[in-house]
Each structure stands twice: as structure tokens, then as C-alpha cells.
């Protein structure tokens, strides 16, 4: 698996972070507090990108750091601290999505969407006049937000994990609790839908 991209820390910062981790592992709350301050915006963005809900993302970020505190003794430094946090955050978020699906009774089913997009269909641009260069950066961002909101949580999850975080199919399948084939199938439809929604920008 490729590590989730995060700005690599300068050597001094990395050393400072390593010190904070050691102190936090020794039970020093203030050191963990400083680690939270360092990573809270990235963790929040990771979760928000997956669920598009500020309040829930806020709560899940709390759960992420709380779980990190409880499991801190297990962190061995084999990956970066953010990569470790990222795994906790995405696992918690996917669990939350799964529970929400069960509670809401809105079972995700790829087949429901099969009628909307044929597997072999082309996503050729429709005759929409405005090219992407005519749109402001913010407008493009808004369009992407809207398009992502159209996706089911399961489609959005695999799309973000793959396209933004660079997760492998196998890692996604393990996290989500489904087969690699299901992950690939969901990715296929998620891409088709997103391309269809944003075709005038592509």
C-alpha cells in the first residue's frame, strides 16, 4: 500500500514529533495534546472527504484520537505517525458507515445502480458549452463537492481511498470487509458516475 500522502516533515520537525510520541507513550498527556494539534486538521479532512458531514466528521475525529491514545503503546514507528492515525481514522469511518447502513436500512447494492449506467457505456461529454478553463477554481470545487455527494457512501469511500489516498484494492477490501472484486466493481461505477457528473470539466 502506498502511504497516504501527507507533507513530509522536515528533519527537525520529525525529530520533535518522535520525541512527542515517546513522551506520549510514557503517559504524558501534554505531549499527546501537541500531537493532536499537529494532526487534527489532516485527520478531520480525511474523515470529512469520506462522509461529507462536518458534525459526524468532528465526532469521528474525536474517536480517532481517543483510540490513538488508547493504542499508543502499539505504535512502533514502522510507518509515519500520520499514516498510523490515517488507518485508525479510515477504519473507524468505514465502521461508522457500515453501522449507519445497517441502522438506516439503506443497504448498499451495486446492482441498483447498474440500471443507471451500462458497464460498457461511454462517458463522452454531453454538449455542455462551458469548458473547464472558464470556471473559477472555487466553482470547480463546488461542482466536485456536489458530484461526490451524489455517490453512495460505499462508492465515495473506494473512490477517495483509491484516487486521493492511493490505497490498494486489497487494503480497501480488508478495511471495508468485502472482496477485492467488489472493491474494483464499486470503483468502476464510482468513476463512471463521477465522470458523468463532471463530464464538462474533463
Amino acid at each position: 500500500m502506498r502511504e497516504p500522502s501527507s507533507p513530509s516533515l522536515p528533519a527537525d520537525d520529525a525529530a520533535a514529533e518522535a520525541t512527542l510520541i515517546t513522551r506520549a507513550q510514557a503517559g504524558e498527556h501534554a505531549a499527546f495534546d501537541a500531537l493532536v494539534t499537529l494532526h487534527r486538521h489532516k485527520v478531520y479532512a480525511t474523515i470529512y472527504n469520506l462522509i461529507r458531514d462536518e458534525q459526524e466528521a468532528w465526532d469521528l475525529a474525536q474517536d480517532t484520537f481517543l483510540k490513538a491514545w488508547k493504542s499508543l503503546h502499539l505504535f512502533r514507528g514502522q510507518s509515519s505517525f500520520f499514516t498510523w492515525l490515517y488507518r485508525i481514522a479510515t477504519n473507524l469511518t468505514i465502521d461508522w458507515l457500515r453501522r449507519k447502513r445497517i441502522e438506516g436500512g439503506t443497504a448498499f447494492d451495486d446492482a441498483v445502480r447498474l440500471e443507471e449506467i451500462e458497464p460498457g457505456s461511454a462517458t463522452a461529454p454531453r454538449p455542455v458549452p462551458s469548458p473547464s478553463r472558464a470556471l473559477e477554481h472555487r466553482e470547480v470545487g463546488r461542482r466536485i463537492d456536489e458530484a461526490l455527494a451524489l455517490l453512495s457512501p460505499e462508492h465515495r469511500t473506494v473512490l477517495i481511498l483509491r484516487e486521493i489516498d492511493g490505497e490498494s484494492y486489497e487494503a480497501m477490501a480488508e478495511k471495508i470487509g468485502c472482496s477485492v472484486g467488489t472493491v474494483m466493481s464499486r470503483l468502476f461505477y464510482a468513476r463512471k458516475k463521477l465522470q458523468a457528473a463532471l463530464n464538462d470539466l474533463l
Partner: protein, 181 residues
């Protein structure tokens, strides 16, 4: 044998063996090349517009709440960001809090009497003489209270038609035996 969707996904991600990839590309023809180009553009757009950092709303409260939860987990009352206090300061603070609680208890037990006698110091009850005695109108308000701890709270409310205000204290473990109205 892979399903079409799986094969197509792996092809877009460049994860098919060369022979199989060429087979898929040949099958899709010109549309395949166009789709691959659109996918590249889509991936770039997503990376550009989905921030890897996003300002956390109410960040200070976020940290505060997290500290509380961690302190609760650890069975400690101290918050991690504060330096440890000297023991003597903690004892002095406890004594002051204890005194404040005791004073508040005495006030609670004497408030109805003091309404007639006047002069409540710690928790003062405001009394509206003109409206006294009218059913359902008895003004009682805590103007100042120092409960002495985060778990102790005080409320004032009326009892209709009985000319009595009640000062209700929550969170006290006990009332001192020598407290008398």
C-alpha cells in the same frame, strides 16, 4: 476470468499485465483512450480540490473535550496541558471550595427564614413584596452563588401559594449534621 468492471478498473489503474491491457485497449478503441484521458484529468481534479487538510471547527473545544475524555480514561482530574500543581496549592484550593460548599448548604437550609429576616450573603434571593401572595407569582433568583465544585449546582424556584422559595442544591454528597435553619 475477471468481470468487465474489474478488468476495466485495473486497466485504468495500469495494473493489468501488458498483454491483457493491450487486449482491453483494442476492444475499447478510441473511446478507451479518451476515457483514460478523462480519468487522468478526473484524478488530478480530485487531488487538487479535495484538501488533505481541512480547518477543524471549534478546534479549541475539540482539544478540551479530548483532554477530558483522556483524563476520564486515566481516572485523573488534571488536564494534560496544565502543569502539575504543587500539593499545598491543591490543598488550599480544596479547603476554600469546602468552605464555600458549607456556606451554600447553610444558605439552602435557611433561605425561607431569611426571606423574612433579610440579609442573605452567599446566595441572595430577590423577593417581590408587591406581588407576594398572588398565586403563581413569587420571584426567586440566585444573584450570586459559589458552589465550590463543577458537580455542584444551585437552582431557585417558587412553590405556588406558599410564600416560600426553594433553593435546590444538586451534587452534594451529604449535608453537615450541625447545619440547622
Amino acid at each position: 476470468m475477471k468481470r468487465f468492471e474489474e478488468q476495466h478498473t485495473a486497466w485504468l489503474d495500469g495494473l493489468l499485465p501488458p498483454g491483457e491491457a493491450a487486449e482491453v485497449a483494442a476492444r475499447l478503441g478510441e473511446e478507451g483512450a479518451a476515457e483514460a484521458a478523462r480519468h487522468t484529468r478526473l484524478r488530478a481534479l480530485l487531488k487538487e480540490h479535495l484538501p488533505q487538510e481541512r480547518p477543524l471547527p471549534q478546534a479549541d473545544f475539540f482539544q478540551h473535550r479530548l483532554r477530558e475524555q483522556i483524563a476520564a480514561l486515566s481516572g485523573e482530574m488534571a488536564t494534560p496541558s496544565r502543569p502539575a500543581r504543587p500539593v499545598w496549592r491543591w490543598r488550599l484550593w480544596s479547603a476554600l471550595c469546602g468552605g464555600a460548599v458549607a456556606a451554600l448548604v447553610m444558605t439552602a437550609l435557611t433561605v425561607s427564614v431569611k426571606n423574612e429576616q433579610g440579609g442573605i450573603t452567599l446566595a441572595e434571593v430577590e423577593w417581590n413584596e408587591e406581588e407576594a401572595g398572588k398565586p403563581g407569582f413569587y420571584d426567586a433568583e440566585i444573584l450570586e452563588a459559589n458552589p465550590g465544585g463543577p458537580t455542584i449546582s444551585a437552582y431557585a424556584f417558587q412553590t405556588s401559594g406558599q410564600n416560600m422559595a426553594v433553593l435546590w442544591l444538586d451534587g452534594l454528597d451529604y449535608v453537615p449534621a450541625d447545619s440547622k435553619p
